[in-house]
């Protein structure tokens, strides 16, 4: 009981949303602590197979072949079809990759992403959302489709910065913004999809041009089944029993704790498994490695570890052969890890 109380306190004081999170992600940080996934039950969703990597690559090349913007597939491309992906490359560095069943795609135009601007000119979340929604609606609507009850919601933003200095200088380098990124997620009946699946990310230059995109966006189909979710306190107990770090240690802080429907994305998904409710916890531990250095300066002498774990949140858990915690709970065993052989010491 005492341990649970401590754990709850640790989770409650940590895991706050970041400044670049949109409201839906910020609310996840709050509701996970008090309401778990925020619903009494959640649907089990089946993932429909996509059209195939080569067909999807072909469709995207046709979609952007006449575009005069930064996202363009104009010109001759070298196309390679490999076992797990189709890749198109252009002589100027543009690159299109379509993975697996074609539900995961990446495009970059690096030449358009070389401009820089002062760090203070990082694009605002509002501007990025407007640019992103317009691009998705006008350019990607054939590929980012929404089913009944589904919505596209802005999730977070990221930035690429650059800096440097004369090696003889002791001045702090001036930083520039090199590119911005906005990430959208899907909600299903108001419940956000967490994990790498159901994400659209757009790379945006400082003058507001979209110069690249990634999406991992499969079609979902209800199975007709719903699973009762654990309450917030029960989920925390399950998290505590399954994570690999001691969450009640004073050296541990929780950076994120979020619950929703979990989709690991194309490349981690067990195609036979369903999307189900889960919570993701990201915890950081700083251990003192050099007590003397740490005594001199509390910012020194530590080594940092950062762990991410995904814990199913349902009263019952569907087996998922790629997800160790779901296998452990769904099959009634411990966490099973498929681990390759470790290395030996240098002879």
């Amino acid at each position: 009981m005492f341990r649970t109380t401590i754990l709850s306190a640790a989770l409650l004081v940590a895991g706050a949303a970041g400044a670049t999170d949109f409201p839906i992600r910020a609310s996840l940080a709050l509701t996970a602590h008090t309401q778990g996934v925020g619903r009494a039950d959640l649907p089990l969703l089946r993932v429909n197979a996509g059209v195939g990597a080569d067909r999807r690559a072909d469709a995207i090349m046709r979609r952007f072949q006449h575009s005069g913007e930064a996202v363009t597939t104009f010109g001759d491309a070298k196309v390679q079809t490999e076992k797990l992906k189709t890749i198109a490359t252009w002589a100027d560095g543009r690159r299109l990759v379509s993975f697996g069943d074609g539900s995961k795609v990446s495009f970059r135009n690096p030449q358009e992403m070389e401009a820089s601007a002062p760090a203070a000119l990082r694009l605002s979340n509002e501007r990025l959302e407007a640019i992103g929604r317009k691009f998705i609606q006008e350019q990607l609507s054939d590929f980012i489709k929404l089913g009944p009850g589904e919505k596209l919601e802005p999730f977070s933003t990221r930035v690429e910065v650059g800096g440097g200095n004369d090696v003889s200088s002791t001045e702090r380098p001036l930083e520039q913004v090199l590119a911005n990124a906005i990430v959208f997620t899907r909600t299903v009946d108001g419940v956000p999809v967490i994990g790498g699946g159901s994400k659209v990310a757009l790379m945006v230059t400082n003058d507001g041009q979209v110069a690249g995109f990634d999406f991992d966006w499969a079609d979902y189909q209800p199975t007709g089944k719903r699973v009762k979710m654990l309450g917030a306190a029960q989920i925390k107990e399950r998290v505590q029993s399954m994570v690999s770090v001691k969450l009640d240690s004073p050296q541990v802080s929780v950076k994120r704790y979020e619950c929703g429907l979990f989709d690991p994305g194309l490349r981690r998904r067990d195609q036979g498994a369903a999307v189900q409710g889960a919570c993701v916890i990201q915890a950081v531990e700083k251990r003192i490695a050099d007590p003397v250095a740490h005594l001199r300066n509390p910012a020194d002498g530590h080594v940092t570890s950062a762990v991410v774990e995904v814990i199913p949140a349902g009263e019952t858990v569907e087996a998922d052969s790629h997800w160790p915690q779901a296998m452990a709970l769904g099959m009634g065993g411990g966490v099973q890890r498929a681990s390759p052989a470790g290395p030996g010491p240098r002879p």
Partner: protein, 252 residues
Amino acid sequence: MNRTVKIAMALLALAGSLPALAGRFGTACQEDFQYGWQNTLPYSWNRCSGFNSELGTTDTQIFYWNLHGAKSWWEGDNDQNGLETVNIVFANTHGGAWGTDSVWAMWDDGDNAVSSNMRLGNESWGTMIFSTYSCETLKYDDGLMWSRMGPIMKGGLYIATGSMDLVWAGWTTDDVGADYADDLQHGVTIKESWHDGASDWYEDNDLAVMTTGTDSTNCWNRQNGMTWQNIAGYTRLRDSAIGWYCYSGWHT
């Protein structure tokens, strides 16, 4: 543009278009630590064996070692029998950034490889690319990046890739090594290979890369142009030939 620069650019372009000669690579990884002095690092073996499997289809694996007693072959004169025997090192362990040192945790209780004791690129095969999936070791927001990483870069290392803050370890990041190697093989720049291979759009890995140059322009040209295939066409810069360092970082 003068004639020398034109010839150099033509040679670089040629290097990029030629079938690549097999490069030499090594992986240095640790998942558990002596007496638990550091947390277990989940899926470290997966990250490193994924890198080995992927890059091994085109290049030559020289070593895949754990970090038992590894401080001796990361630091000092004996690195010529360790890190310096390959063109690219991929490592996965815990890390930290102290006042003037970046540190990488070794298996041995209390042991860290410390950047001020390291110098890469000047012995044996001469490491070109030093990639570590470790927290904090490319920290730059305090303006002390060169103090920490300069000793390593001064040996002639071309590029370091890592993190300025946090990189996450778990089931959902077990393929970082394979993805990074895959992009390298496909001629993506080393900088973008690291960014693409070691990140996704949910977990927010804080990634960074660092290069050197004779001046700012040269530094950025190297950072934005170097690939696994063309890197040998760039001049190796050591000690006083280095006038500038530059970095890129991706964060929230």
